[in-house]
């Protein structure tokens, strides 16, 4: 039996090379899309954890503030608590490496003398230098190699408007400590770090090691009580899950997209398997008539498909890794731009991700093939030897499938309206039901639409009409394509609408002429402060009419971490900066400027269920307080929520000094370029970042586009899979219909005509896929905009229809389908009339 299998296998693979390549490719692409997303997802968290370990080592607990920094004295408080074996301070912030390239380093300040619990240490000869030699820094070996640094070399970094010269004092392989540690880690003694960052008296966290036998929960609780409401005491797991929570929407999006490509991939595997089976019907019939049992036939089929799965998986893993590597930059940029987390320094391939890839490839292939294989093995020998019966069955089942599809949609709709509404991932369930219903309705729609078509001659239209007859083969390809198109349309519409909404918002709110911040602000946010001398000089510049001074920081509202902005709310003529969706603007501005109230962003309002008239809870260094909400503004900058206070109110409550941004409004006629030149002239050495109004708008949209870059990759993969499906289906059809084609040829059909019939079938499938996919995509877009986005991001997105972009995509798809049909069409057109058998007459 095994010999029969192996011999047959070799022969089949030789005979159907194209089919084999396509099948393996189909599995490979499915595996690759899932794998690449999982690798990126895992590495995003890994980057966070790696950095954590390299600095915090084996800390059992970490004390963080619900305010941006915590006082030095918390270190002593922490070490005084019963059950604590050691506590040490940590200062951590991104700093910009001066020079070309826009590289950010992750600067950490630690106590090099604390009974050291870091997983690496400073050699004895270096301790004095670490403590006293200005700028002494431990640098990762890889970074030093990249930049060509040796011990003793100096480099400049900037934080806010201050620039600091550091000196390579020690090279450390942080990766040995923590394989996923960022290569951009630079470690200083705490005193040097505070001095360099202007953080005298403040640290970002206190790491705690417990005595043997002490309970983390109990000590954590005591520490939290001791330090008051402004402290949060977290275990490493809690920190990890906090980061995971921060990234949840981002990761979910990626996962959802990869699942859709998996779905499309599964269709492809299914089609492939079917193609293989169809080719072998007669042979299987022969085997059966020679005495092979059904079970043996089934075993042969499953083994073959499993082999396909293995080959596909083997190919898919490197492709997936490559795809992840190709996109790591974009994902990394998103992480650091939007989430202010460390970018991904390296990709990690965890064993479970590999296992998942194998399960997807092998399991997907076998599962996809099992039903048709079972069916074939159950057929009696005569039926196997006779063609076409498969399609009759699908034809019969078509109305039932369509009804089931409608029922799924209706059921989900009812569920959502009743129970699902309050459940965050409900939008995904609705989207999934759409993606299941769509293929279920495909055979019926295909039969109905193609049946109505009138074919006047033997050509393109005939080809399209023929699709309705070969339902068993074509409906899978069309359904896969339909899903891919739906995804493409859905995401195009969603992203387009979002972008358009953003543009309108930018027009309303980005009004200043020159935006002044620092190069490191983009990553470091609240640590990157402007020197007060710089600020006062800016305000006195000739040509400056007024200025909006901003302090952007982070705060906690209950357990929710939000962006808190203090600014000159009452700045004359600045009302337009706030686009309120709730509350009276003039009244809100008056109250906020007076320090009596706050305004909150839409995502915070939606997520926390807050509105005008409610009180916003906030945690300040002095403890918790509440402030009335006077308005809710549109906010597309902060996914996790934001609030605005007047600058003076922020300073009095939070005791924060130092501005992060200054927005300058110029006198009529003053040139922003000239003002920017004069600022650069006055502060030639300050690492300031100056953006004109136009440049800032462009930049916001660039970041937006970058964020959705990964989406495009997945869309592309799904489409690739779907188009491969067309080729595959046509190859199957050509094979199945050898005798039919031979008959046409015998009746005088030219090769060119048959070519056209097949092109018609290919383009027809694409057209039907588009026809099916567009309404599906529109529905998907609405689900994404109205349900998923609201639940996860809380943004108002006004739907807009990028018709031109969609038309372009449709044209590309049709062209791709035509190209994909070409090879099968050529093969079909070469069918000689001699293939005609007696049976067919």
């Amino acid at each position: 039996m095994i010999r029969v299998f192996l011999r047959g296998l070799a022969a089949h693979f030789r005979a159907g090379r194209t089919l084999l390549i396509l099948s393996v490719l189909g599995v490979a692409l499915g595996v690759a899309s899932v794998l690449s997303v999982q690798i990126l997802n895992g590495s995003a968290l890994g980057a966070f954890e790696g950095g954590l370990r390299a600095v915090s080592g084996e800390a059992d607990l970490t004390i963080l503030g619900k305010v941006p920094t915590v006082p030095d004295a918390w270190v002593r408080e922490a070490m005084s608590e019963r059950g604590v074996a050691a506590a040490w301070p940590v200062v951590r912030t991104p700093v910009k490496l001066e020079g070309p390239g826009g590289v950010f380093l992750d600067l950490a300040g630690v106590d090099v003398l604390a009974p050291v619990w870091f997983p690496w240490d400073v050699p004895p000869g270096e301790v004095a230098a670490a403590l006293g030699a200005p700028g002494w820094a431990a640098v990762s070996e890889k970074l030093a190699r990249e930049r060509g640094w040796a011990v003793g070399d100096v480099f400049d970094v900037s934080s806010g408007s201050r620039r600091v010269r550091l000196r390579v004092g020690l090279l450390v392989d942080f990766r040995k400590v923590s394989p996923l540690a960022g290569d951009r880690l630079v470690v200083l003694d705490i005193a040097q770090a505070q001095d360099a960052l202007g953080l005298e008296g403040a640290v970002h966290q206190v790491d705690v090691k417990l005595s043997p036998g002490a309970s983390r929960a109990e000590v954590g609780e005591r520490l939290a009580r001791r330090l008051g409401p402004a402290a949060q005491v977290l275990t490493p797991e809690q920190r990890r899950s906090q980061a995971a929570g921060l990234l949840s929407a981002f990761r979910l999006n990626l996962t959802a997209l990869s699942l859709i490509s998996l779905l499309v991939g599964a269709f492809l595997v299914h089609t492939t398997t079917q193609a293989a089976l169809v080719r072998r019907r007669a042979e299987l019939g022969l085997l059966r008539s020679l005495g092979t049992t059904r079970r043996q036939v089934l075993a042969i089929l499953v083994a073959e498909v499993a082999l396909l799965g293995v080959l596909g998986t083997l190919l898919g893993i490197p492709i997936g890794y490559w795809a992840a590597a190709a996109n790591v930059e974009a994902v990394s940029a998103t992480l650091s731009n939007l989430y202010l987390l460390e970018g991904i320094g390296s990709l990690g391939l965890e064993p479970w991700v590999l296992a998942l890839a194998v399960a997807v490839g092998l399991g997907g292939a076998v599962a996809g093939a099992l039903l048709p294989a079972l069916e074939l093995s159950r057929r009696d020998t005569r039926a196997l030897l006779a063609p076409f019966s498969l399609h009759e069955r699908v034809g019969k089942a078509a109305p039932r499938l369509a009804v089931a599809g409608c029922a799924i949609l209706a059921g989900t709709g009812v569920w959502y309206a009743g129970l699902g509404r309050g459940w965050r991932p409900a939008g995904f369930v609705v989207a999934l039901s759409l993606l299941i219903a769509l293929p279920a309705m495909t055979p019926w729609l295909l039969r109905t639409l193609c049946g109505r078509l009138r074919a006047r001659g033997f050509g393109l239209a005939y080809g399209v009409k023929a699709l309705g007859v070969k339902l068993g083969t074509t409906s899978f390809a069309v359904a896969a394509l339909g899903i891919a198109v739906a995804m493409l349309v859905g995401i195009t519409v969603m992203v387009g609408s979002f972008r358009r909404t953003l543009e309108v918002w930018i027009d309303a709110t980005i009004r200043a002429d020159v935006y002044v911040t620092t190069e490191s602000w983009r990553r470091a946010r609240e640590t990157a402060v402007l020197d007060p001398a710089v600020v006062s000089a800016l305000l006195r510049l000739p040509g400056v009419r007024s200025a909006d001074r901003l302090r952007r920081t982070r705060a906690f509202s209950g357990e929710r971490r939000i962006a808190l902005v203090g600014r000159d709310v009452g700045m004359p003529g600045g009302e337009g900066r706030f686009v309120l969706i709730e509350g009276d603007r003039a009244d809100a501005i008056r109250r906020v400027a007076a320090g009596e109230a706050a305004m909150i962003g839409e995502p915070l309002a939606r997520k926390a269920g807050l509105g005008v008239g409610d009180r916003l809870p906030l945690t300040a260094p002095g403890g918790n307080f509440e402030i009335p909400i006077a308005g809710v503004y549109l906010d597309y900058a902060e996914e996790h929520g934001s609030a605005v206070l007047d600058l003076s109110a922020l300073e009095s409550r939070f005791g924060l000094a130092g501005l992060t941004n200054v927005d300058l409004y110029l006198e009529p006629g003053a040139s922003p370029e000239r003002i920017m030149d004069s600022i650069r002239g006055r502060f030639p050495d300050a690492p300031l970042e100056l953006l004109s109004n136009r440049r800032l708008r462009e930049e916001i949209l660039e970041i937006f586009d970058q964020t959705f870059a990964v989406t495009r990759l997945l869309q592309g993969m799904a489409l690739l899979i779907a188009v491969a499906g067309i080729t595959l289906t046509l190859l199957v059809l050509a094979r199945e219909r050898v005798s039919e084609l031979a008959l046409y040829r015998a009746l005088g059909a030219s090769r060119r005509r048959i070519l056209r019939v097949f092109l018609g079938e290919g383009v027809g499938m694409a057209g039907l896929g588009i026809l099916l996919g567009v309404p599906g995509g529109v529905a998907l877009a609405m689900i994404l905009i109205r349900l998923v986005n609201r639940a996860y991001f809380g943004w108002t997105i006004v739907p807009s229809w990028p018709v031109a972009a969609l038309a372009r995509q449709a044209a590309v798809l049709l062209a791709a389908a035509a190209a994909a049909s070409l090879y099968p069409a050529i093969r079909a057109s070469r069918t000689p009339a001699t293939e005609l058998r007696r049976d067919d007459l």
Partner: protein
Amino acid sequence: MTTCDRIPPRRGSRARRATWIALGLVAGAAAGAGGFRIAVPDYAWSFPRDHWAHEGYRTEWWYFTGHLDSKEPGARSLGFQFTIFRIGILPARPPFRSEWATSGVAMGHAAVSDLDRGEHRFSETVRREVPLLASFGLHPDPEIARVQGPAGTDGAWTLRWNGDGFDLEARDDAERFRMSLSTRAERPVVLQGPNGLSRKGDAPGAASQYYSVTRLATRGTVVLDGREIPVAGESWMDREFGSSELSEEQVGWDWFALRLDDGRDLMLYALRDRGGEAGVRNGSLVRPGGEVRLLEASDWSVRPLSTWTSGVTGATYPAKWRIEIPSEGLALVVVPDFSEQENVARTPRAPFYWEGSVSVLDGAGGRAGRGYVELTGYGERNRPPV
């Protein structure tokens, strides 16, 4: 020789390595950094000012040992040690705008020996010398030193000048002991060595400024396992500052501080080299009237009579000695009150040493006094850094 060569090879967990940094390495780290003051023969002493810290020297310590008794029924006889070290890494505090900017670390060691039960408790705290965690006051501020207590214990260890003597406070909640003692000097300051210059080797600067107060009336409370014990007794203070380290050949020292019942006080130390020979030996004898006789190496001998091996560290220490000073007519036997008085920090692999209460017997075996003995550099890889 680089500093690294002197550091015992570091093995074991990171936690184990940790203390070396805090303790030994820190002192070693400064080896290459010049700028420290060195001990000089013509140091101009000024008391009480010299009881306060001396910036600019690499190491400095205040070393109290003594015996305490309580009169309460069922009360105990206790020995105690209280030590504050200042270890300079840089000659001066670097000018960073940070409260963490520091020139070194401060360290506290405290031990209580329950002489009746043979129980010894030891505690250690090592802190960066920053206002938040450890500070040394300036004369005439009564606070001479303050070091945040060991982790898990609320509060600081303090050493204060009370006008007549020193007040000591130390506490370790994990070891369940606390001491709060007030001392009053009963004898004037004794300068150890010519004008208080104590030679540790032949190299220039291999010396420290060294003085003692050999008898301090002591009273206060010791809390053991939550039980507060009012105590009274007598202690000895040793005080050294300088910038020298042990030389390459030297591995540790044996040090004796004995208060004899006849009113004489005896201090002896011997620095041992790798071969076990005592290369540098010095001592002093203080007569009841306060007259000091500096002892030359040829004036005295110490002979170990037995040994004791620690079950904790495996180190073998001498455990009984015969001390002879023929010119003073002294022939004494010194016996540890009990053996297990080894100071081993909770953090593993910190240098360990034996510091314990001893009884002094005369030739006939009768009681002749009490004292403390310190033995360092015994055991594998246990060379004290300073």
